[in-house]
Amino acid sequence: MTRDLSRDLHDLAARTAASLPAGGLDVGTLTGRTRRRRRVRTAITGVCAAGVVAVLAGGAAFVGREQPAPVPADTPTVSPSPTLPAPSATPTVRAVALPPGDPSAPFGTCGALASTPPASGVAATWLTSAGVLAASVPAGEPLGVWGELVPPGDDASLQAVGYPAAGPRFAVLRDGVVVAGGTDLYGGARDDLDLHPVWFEGMGSPVYDGTVALTVCDPGDGSADVGASLPAGDYTLLAWTPVAGLGTTELPDAFWTGERTAEEIVAASGATWVAALAEPVPFSIVGTAEEAVSTDPGEVPSLDVPTSEQPPVCGVPAPAGPSSPLGFSLTTSTPTTTLAAGEEVAVTGVLTAGPGGRWSLGTPQLDLVVSTDGVVVGATLVPADGWMFLLDLGPGTPYDVGATSLLTTCSGGGGVPGTPLPPGTYTVHPVMHLSHPEVWTPAGGTQEGPQGWVDVVGEPFEVTVR
């Protein structure tokens, strides 16, 4: 029987709309949130160049897509507003001069306009996916960001690309002008390349997590308060990854054997570097701050930690936790503690990176290791092709993890899960397996961690299967 999908979708939507007056939305709450946001937006201390177009998240405006209105060549220089009078109980708010819009500034640099395209063009198919960890940031604090180079879908005609191992670049715009950032999460200190092989299941580019300092960048002409905390208001995160198409869908064997480096392969391809853009992401800065919060990355911990050679097998001692090897930690939710037969358990949590530097590692999905009387009787992780993904995390950066699964015996591998555990009471140990972790610091470069798997164990909890 052929279903009329259009009719079914409209009926589905109509039933949802009919069952929920006003969508179940609370106008009072919405009005309050909006009023607070509008108040913050009004509290500007010196930025509102006439004619500059804001970059909206809902309608990306870059080369190859919709074009924003061009900025007049005589965009007025931003002038600080007069210092506000200080009531006795309120500190004086110092005006902050932001970089003026410069039509000649290259894409993504300080003072560049949102309408300025990348010099060599925009990637036709490759994209950057990016976001912020919080939509609202207190003034003076850095912005948590993440970014990842993403191919647009399965397609045998897609070329492999070279890209900077330091990952995407991030810039912060206000009213269509770059006012902060403009570099990668390594601060421009790392210049090696990596290759995205397209068809290597699950092993694309890493997800890069870190922070962008929300301080005024230097346009080079003395017009801005360089280093000052950005004032309260609405901003936009712009992310992009330089990519170079290699003219092939397969990477040469010499790359995998180590005979040729990524840099040599990219140079030999003669490729042009273009920008894989991300959708702009809006966020807000709230409050005031005299100075930016300084973030101390801490010391790199000892890399001499125990490892496990493979995912937990049944019959061995249960993992001890919570544990924090390499300074990593895992915190998880405590889900429902009673499951019906055939019911899945859903656990979400946060893996927080260790201190000292940027951490690169591979990891599969969150593993729920199950024990009885201190002995492993099951695990939800199923070894299979494409089960690993790469992370590149700043010191102390959080990364969301989770698992939704039946509690099963240990998998025998080959993509085949174990069998559901029988009724009984079990102890569940959330575990993140970190594969071949490395840490990079500006002074020391890359230090390799232990070979094999380092297990970060979260707080155990009991579950009863009925």
Partner: protein, 176 residues
Amino acid sequence: MTWEDELGRVVAERGGALVAYARLLTGDLHAAQDLVQDALVNAFTRRRTRPVDEVEAYVRRAILNAYLDGWRRRRRLDQVVHLVATQTHASDETSAVGDRADVAAALDALSPRERACVVLRFYDDLTLPEIAHRLGVSDGAVKRYLSDARRRLEPLLGPQPDLLDDVPTIAKGARR
């Protein structure tokens, strides 16, 4: 009319339709309401008041972008959830045919981008190039997503020959 009045009017008149649209994408009512609320706050934070139709169009685009952005952030989690959902539906397919409610269940079998393409194609009646523009991908990528969606939906809903057929642009602005 003040912006507060406009916001109240949009919620009263279009809140149900907006949440319904977001729910087609997310499959979850609470997630849909969160998307709509965030989009409305963003829309009305900007000072210039706009006609209700324009606000709705902006909010619908913001919902789509926020949904896809949320998926990109949780992509590794969704790989696990998606696999589980597919297995569940495979076992239910013999009882699903004929029940319109199974369309909602069938949508759960799609990846977020496949789902977005299906909603934009069959609910928003966009052409393939329009879908590509809305998602910021190539026309070819949209065809791939719809092709993959057809492979997943047909065992559950029967043949879907229209999934890859392009359609002429229809009159915009029709409310549903």
